[in-house]
Symmetry: C2
Amino acid sequence: MQDNPAVLISEVGPRDGLQSVDSVMPTEHKLRWIDALHAAGLREIEVASFVPAKLLPQMADAAAVVRHAITLPGLTVMALVPNLRGAQAALAAGVHKLTIPCSASAAHSLANVRMTRKQMIATVREIVALRNDIAPRVRIEAGISTAFGCTIQGEVPEDDVVWMAAQAIAAGAEEAGLSDTTGMANPAQVRRLFNRVRAEIGERTGAAHMHNTRGLGLANCLAAYDVGVRTFDASLGGLGGCPYAPGASGNVVTEDLVFMFEAMGLSTGVDLEKLIAARAPLQAGLPGEPVYGMVPQAGLPPGWKQSAGVAA
Amino acid sequence: MQDNPAVLISEVGPRDGLQSVDSVMPTEHKLRWIDALHAAGLREIEVASFVPAKLLPQMADAAAVVRHAITLPGLTVMALVPNLRGAQAALAAGVHKLTIPCSASAAHSLANVRMTRKQMIATVREIVALRNDIAPRVRIEAGISTAFGCTIQGEVPEDDVVWMAAQAIAAGAEEAGLSDTTGMANPAQVRRLFNRVRAEIGERTGAAHMHNTRGLGLANCLAAYDVGVRTFDASLGGLGGCPYAPGASGNVVTEDLVFMFEAMGLSTGVDLEKLIAARAPLQAGLPGEPVYGMVPQAGLPPGWKQSAGVAA
């Protein structure tokens, strides 16, 4: 494995993907899939969401999944937590990093977590205090959702996004990333908004979480790279991400994203052939669920050579 | 219609799309489809390929299609011609612009047109002389194919691409564009190569013809836009472009490309809703043929507003 890949691919399939499908992947399949993702060279995986099992039965085994994932060498194990109770459980299980969803859209915040944006920032502050007490080495990222538009309120003012990111950092989060929750971002907006957020919070600017709902996922990741973003969320097989229509994937497909960066000569640390092989345990654990990806369909180009630094 | 859209979308479906599928679209359906594309605001359409009907029965009605298309107001009617005989027929039918495929790959040139690259440049020179004699207002573009890689010979040296573009211009073509015939381009390469070609032939640098074989079509168009390209080939429904695998589309999808630029605030002159409606005559003329496109699947975002300058 290369020590310093040019970009960090943060795999969100086991959390974002699995919580978006109706079927529940059995725990042993989850562990096999996470092992395969790690074997392909992924070094940051969002493995679970700590929410009540009655709300999301797909995530009922979150603690068991985390306890397995933290045994994998060199892996940063992330979990999503929407509140203090979730954070307590995630920290008890031993995660390395927490991600907290913070909507920039006032309407989406109320609909998604039943809190105003200010209440959500207060929640970040509580989680930071808990972390400082019991697990000071754990990092906290705020994921600023609906940053590029909201299906409920429509346009989300850019000032609101910048304000929300700054508030999350002021509340003690180490990073704030921007999420195109609704698949409404375009490359010009991605460049403008990441530049504005970076002007406000500098190197605490976190990941780009782009969706491919309208086909712009990779173009938006390229745009984010152009303005200095170096961490990108993606989901194996494009699983999850609230697709709007059958066949319209939501999340950016990890395989296609890794291909784009590697083809550009930017190392990801991920072995594409092993990554494509990691679709097998995903499909075994979710029989019948559609998976996406242009590179897996078309195959790697003849004579394909990856950049140096692929996982050994 | 806006007089000066920010980018020109050059629709290649009626030529590149139709010649890639096995079924033959009846002439009256072609004319209805081209009418719908024109009604959506497209102002450059590659309507046919002038090749022997026994090689490409899909194009047997090329002259009839051209004769209809040139009656549509404001439309630049293009045809592909691989040789002098094709150029004679296309000029006799009344086209406004010829495109001549010129492979940068030595191996692809022999396989595709049974000519060396130098023989192909001699062909360009012959076609230019004919044009100068009988139709001096017709423009000629050389499409430098396999510019980003070749499935037969593998890597195509960038020097060869720049040389081929310069030779085509020296032979009298007005423009030379770059085609990712094999779906092997990446955004870094697109920027580098278009910059090199522009350094050589300046404002005679023509269209970017990108494929979406491995999902990078829109990212590559964005990259080309970033380095000054303003004309982009695309195909309605992603029809054609030598797909490598079922479900893996070849050509960039016109609907998604128009969406990307319009969302960025760059006018295309194309009305997206009318463009999506133009899928109906395409599908009526080619029943059972799959069409692609993320925007048509997901729908336009809530509150979608296009830039000024959409076709009236």
